[in-house]
């Protein structure tokens, strides 16, 4: 007797939506057990993680502010992963975007409310993210170097570069040697959406980007190419789609999205350059992309769920003394379970007596 996976002729649409939900429930159950093992009531933890953040205006805003970069980055990554291109260096592209855009903000400091400063920062951030993503993309296309390893290695390089710039050339000369740049002018900050609140226009940028990604992926020839290359590289070659061109394009899109998210974070929430500008958004966005089934609307929902658990995790650390690492472990487990549950959408799972013959899918 053994486990047998028979590919479905077409993916089950119901299970496509249901399987991430099932995985989430399973992850919550395992998380509850872990919390109980740490000596905290699972019920109380559930309320702190998933209910309390939804009950106050400020925490709702925090969720939106956390979800925005995640949704933005993950929408870009969806293009890559759909095309079987593995950019896992979004964190580095985020930092590159924040650094380049922030540089514009620092350079224009004190020039008095120029209207083009903010757009220039956003453009610089997006371009820098895309350009930084071109390094692994070109190495893959021209030299067949694994983009997984190069994009990841470049994360460390970007972080160190930002660290150097903030402690060196871009440090605020009047800042008592603190490793930070000058605070940006008001013209270089994303406007707040409501008087006296924390929600800023970056959230709108993210929503727009998700909408754009939805349309491009579902309704354009380019989106079609991305999907075909992912599902069947052979068919794509017969159709005359250039894999190299597509690799460069999806890297540019995901890098640009991550870079834009980076400068949005810097010009929105932070307001200056610091040695660290990301609590790991680029990596968490990978979870979000898969949790959202690599479709932008799903990604938006997934980003909100992950943001909820992150804010809830911060609350749990304060109220219940539960470590933040629990949230990270939960998110990793959730991604694993989502990937595992995916088997039900793509295959009939059967327990059968053995029989020879086999097949591979990529």
């Amino acid at each position: 007797m053994r486990l047998d996976l028979v590919p479905r002729t077409r993916r089950s649409a119901v299970l496509d939506i249901l399987s991430p939900a099932l995985a989430f429930v399973a992850a919550v159950i395992v998380g509850g057990l872990a919390v109980a093992a740490l000596g905290v009531s699972p019920g109380a933890a559930f309320v702190t993680y998933f209910v309390a953040p939804l009950s106050e205006v400020w925490s709702l805003q925090e969720i939106a502010l956390k979800a925005a970069p995640l949704a933005l980055i993950a929408s870009g990554l969806a293009f890559c992963y759909r095309a079987n291109v593995w950019n896992i260096g979004a964190e580095g592209q985020f930092v590159a975007g924040g650094l380049a855009g922030g540089w514009v903000g620092v350079a224009t400091h004190g020039m008095g409310g120029l209207p083009w400063v903010l757009p220039a920062m956003l453009v610089a951030g997006t371009l820098a993210g895309a350009a930084y993503a071109m390094i692994p993309a070109v190495l893959k296309v021209r030299l067949h170097v694994s983009e997984i390893l190069t994009s990841l290695m470049l994360v460390y390089v970007a972080q160190l570069l930002l660290d150097y710039m903030v402690r060196g050339p871009l440090r605020d000369p009047a800042g008592y040697n603190f490793p930070q740049s000058v605070g940006f002018d008001a013209a270089a900050r994303l406007p707040y959406l409501m008087e006296g609140e924390t929600l800023h226009a970056g959230v709108l940028v993210a929503v727009l980007a998700v909408g754009l990604a939805t349309v491009v992926l579902a309704r354009t020839l380019f989106g079609f190419e991305v999907r075909v290359v992912g599902v069947s590289p052979r068919a794509a070659r017969f159709a005359g789609f250039s894999e190299a061109r597509l690799t460069l394009a999806v890297f540019a899109i995901s890098g640009g999205a991550a870079g834009l998210a980076g400068i949005v974070e810097v010009a929105g929430k932070i307001g200056q350059l610091q040695p660290e500008i990301s609590p790991g958004y680029g990596f968490t966005a990978i979870i979000v992309a898969f949790l959202g089934r690599l479709s932008p609307p799903g990604i938006l929902v997934a980003a909100l769920v992950i943001a909820l658990t992150t804010i809830g995790g911060e609350g749990a650390q304060i109220d219940l003394k539960l470590p933040l690492d629990l949230t990270r472990a939960f998110q990793g487990l959730l991604l694993g379970l989502v990937l595992g549950a995916d088997v039900f959408a793509g295959y009939h799972v059967r327990i059968v007596p053995g029989g020879p013959s086999g097949r591979t899918t990529s």
Partner: protein
């Protein structure tokens, strides 16, 4: 006298290379069977945290090392169930494993931050260890180093001199054909993944029990990823993994010395060197192999589902 200085440098290089050898050799076996496990970093750091916790609780370095290997093995089992059993995407599953491992290591290690332990004992054979020039290098290492060296030899022998090794490599090249021959593709792959996990966990244990020797969050600092790159760099050959790890260990030591000497180069640039060197190594390797084609196991990273 100079001989002793050379030996001292070589000893530190070997120490820096050991965790990379351990994790790299395990990943090599998994990849030879056709499974790409990107969770090395996660398994390594979880192994480091668990090994330190076990060693503190029991007072035994050996039990700590076994605990570390077991921790890596447990995470690898999860990965194996996902990718070998349920045909999940290997790249994404590996990433989830890294995130999970980082989180779990923080949970396990939380109570042990800032505590220092005596490093794992070094071999001391009267007469031999004191030999000038080579004594400490050859006869004065800790058990991790000897294990790493033995593993390289053992894996080399296993993959190219045994029938089981041939089976494993064949499965990594063509799971469909080997399955048709009646070989247990999924079982072999699962076992290879487990071996990779145990090795990565042991590599982590070395960091926490011998190299530093304490626990700090994120202490693997990308070594798991570098081990992954080493396997590519080594064209999936065990001896070359060891050579690559030594070169890399040498670069690390050099960078530390440069940082200490204060050459007027920004510290951040020196810290970035290992990562830049990895990229450069991969590029050079690719340039040197323009004609030859890929040496990777043919089915690496591809999911296999037996069906009628």
């Amino acid at each position: 006298m100079t001989l002793d200085i050379v030996q001292m440098v070589l000893v530190t290089v070997l120490a820096a290379a050991t965790p990379l050898i351990l994790a790299g050799i395990g990943e090599l076996v998994a990849e030879r069977s056709g499974v790409l496990n990107l969770g090395v970093e996660g398994m390594m750091i979880f192994g480091a945290a668990v090994s330190f916790a076990v060693a503190m609780q029991t007072g035994s370095t050996v039990l700590g090392a076994l605990g570390g290997a077991g921790a890596g093995l447990a995470l690898a089992a999860l990965f194996g169930i996902l990718t070998v059993g349920l045909a999940a995407n290997q790249v994404a599953s590996g990433l989830s494993l890294t995130i999970l491992g980082l989180g779990l290591s923080g949970l396990v290690g939380a109570g042990y931050v800032g505590i220092k332990r005596d490093p794992a004992p070094h071999l001391a054979i009267p007469g031999l260890t004191d030999l000038p020039g080579v004594g400490r290098l050859l006869f004065g290492q800790d058990a991790f180093v000897y294990t790493a060296v033995a593993l390289v030899a053992a894996v080399s022998w296993f993959l190219w001199r045994t029938r089981a090794g041939l089976t494993l490599r064949a499965i990594g090249d063509d799971p469909v054909a080997t399955h048709a021959l009646g070989l247990k593709v999924r079982r072999v792959r699962f076992l290879a993944v487990l071996f990779g996990g145990a090795c990565a966990g042991l590599g982590g244990a070395y960091l926490a029990l011998a190299y530093t020797p304490f626990w700090s969050p994120g202490m693997t600092a990308g070594r798991g990823w570098i081990a992954l790159a080493l396997v590519v760099f080594a064209s999936w050959r065990p001896l070359r993994v060891a050579v690559g790890a030594l070169l890399f260990g040498g670069a690390t030591v050099l960078q530390l010395h440069a940082q200490a000497a204060g050459l007027g180069v920004p510290g951040q640039l020196l810290s970035a060197l290992p990562y830049l060197a990895t990229i450069l190594a991969l590029v050079l390797l690719s340039l040197g192999r323009r004609q030859g084609g890929s040496l990777a196991p043919a089915a690496l990273g591809r999911v296999f589902t037996p069906s009628r």
